[in-house]
């Protein structure tokens, strides 16, 4: 039968009783088998609860998720709605790289401002796989911006690589190996695309690959150096 102590058992278990109440309940438990049994059951339930294994969805969700990962990389300037043709400015690969650097450094809102678009929480820059960006002739001021952004990119990568080199001993071996293998793959992909684009400067696919891989390299370096900082 419930007694006046029954409703205190969860608080007792969670160590939320003041010392006087706890002492009273502890004394009560020595003489009440019902409360002692109830407490043992509650303790067992609380002990196993965090280790739940979960139930798989009734259908495979990964293909739909993977399809939407591509969307997340898509870059057009706009929010949830597809941008109208008139509102979309298209970019050459140098400008995409510049935008990627700014995005990596300061986030999508600033990209929006930098490119003269509207800013907002959904604002982001992405390369649309369905709409290859036209290669444009940069204006003189655009060329200066791109050159500046390329220097910033190179500088950011160099700084992050130095942090990674200095702190690699703080990461476990598997992570270091993963990072190094990925950086090699990304560098190889960038070099390959750059060589190819010399032969085909208007190739939109190559433009997007270079921009995406440069962004990936920055992201990878940032994740690795964040992990080092977390262990410092």
């Amino acid at each position: 039968m419930p007694d006046r102590y029954t409703n205190q058992l969860s608080a007792y278990l969670d160590d939320e009783l003041d010392s006087a109440s706890r002492a009273r309940l502890t004394a009560h438990l020595r003489t009440c088998p019902e409360c002692t049994g109830l407490l043992a059951d509650l303790r067992a339930i609380v002990a196993v609860a965090p280790a739940y294994s979960g139930r798989e969805p009734s259908r495979e969700l990964w293909p739909e998720i993977e399809a939407r990962l591509g969307e997340a990389e898509v870059i057009a300037i706009g929010g949830a709605r597809p941008p109208s043709p008139a509102s979309v400015r298209r970019f050459g690969w140098r400008e995409l790289i510049a935008a990627s650097i700014v995005m990596a450094a300061v986030g999508g809102g600033a990209v929006y401002l930098a490119l003269g678009g509207r800013s907002g929480p959904d604002a982001r820059l992405a390369v649309s796989p369905g709409a290859p960006p036209a290669v444009t002739t940069p204006s003189p001021s655009g060329s200066r911006n791109v050159a500046f952004a390329e220097r910033e990119y190179d500088s950011a990568v160099r700084d992050l690589e130095q942090v990674l080199e200095a702190g690699r001993s703080r990461l476990d071996t598997a992570t270091v190996r993963s990072v190094e293998e990925s950086l090699q793959k990304i560098d190889a992909a960038i070099a390959e695309a750059r060589a190819a684009i010399q032969r085909d400067p208007s190739n939109g696919y190559l433009n997007r690959q270079i921009a995406a891989n440069m962004r990936r390299k920055l992201n990878l370096l940032r994740v690795a150096t964040n992990a080092i900082a977390a262990r410092t």
Partner: protein
């Protein structure tokens, strides 16, 4: 390698755009995220919400600094998203339940060898209000003050719902 180290290596690859690494993370964690969705949302909304969680996590991977386990971070993202999603839906979640009929006699629940597995089925049977507090407190490790803010209830209500949930679970597990 421990599961946490395997996750960390895959997070690093996924943050660099590796879909295969992210798929491995998905398969290792989807069952728990899906159960969280079923327990905190209407069941019919769960699978769509799970997809949204993994898309969000993909977009935010570069912000994961590794101070906690990936699973812990993933669950925080999932819980926040599910609760925001609830706010925009018209779900009428009953929070008040009765203590009447609760069995308090000895049950031997603590001795059940299959307790962990059986518990998940028993959580399904809890009333929504008690289930939410139990899931957030005992399964996910939130404090009552945090739960009170998240569910917009009084901390005392969170505490009493948790106690009711535990008693109801004990009852379900004994029958």
């Amino acid at each position: 390698m421990t599961p946490a180290e395997i996750d960390r290596a895959d997070v690093t690859l996924a943050a660099a755009g590796d879909h295969a690494a992210f798929e491995r993370l998905y398969h290792r964690h989807v069952a728990r995220v899906h159960s969280l969705a079923r327990w905190l949302l209407d069941p019919g909304d769960a699978e769509d919400a799970v997809q949204e969680v993994f898309i969000r996590v993909w977009q935010k991977l570069h912000t994961f600094a590794g101070q906690s386990a990936f699973g812990t971070w993933l669950h925080r993202v999932a819980v926040n998203l599910f609760l925001r999603r609830r706010q925009t839906s018209s779900q009428d979640r009953k929070r008040q339940i009765s203590d009447e009929g609760l069995m308090l006699a000895a049950t031997g629940v603590a001795e059940r060898p299959d307790l962990r597995v059986a518990l998940e089925g028993a959580v399904d049977k809890l009333p929504a209000g008690a289930r939410e507090v139990f899931v957030l407190h005992d399964m996910e490790g939130y404090k009552h003050e945090e739960i009170a803010r998240m569910l917009e209830v009084d901390p005392g209500t969170s505490r009493s719902q948790l106690h009711r949930a535990r008693l109801l679970l004990r009852q379900h597990l004994a029958t």
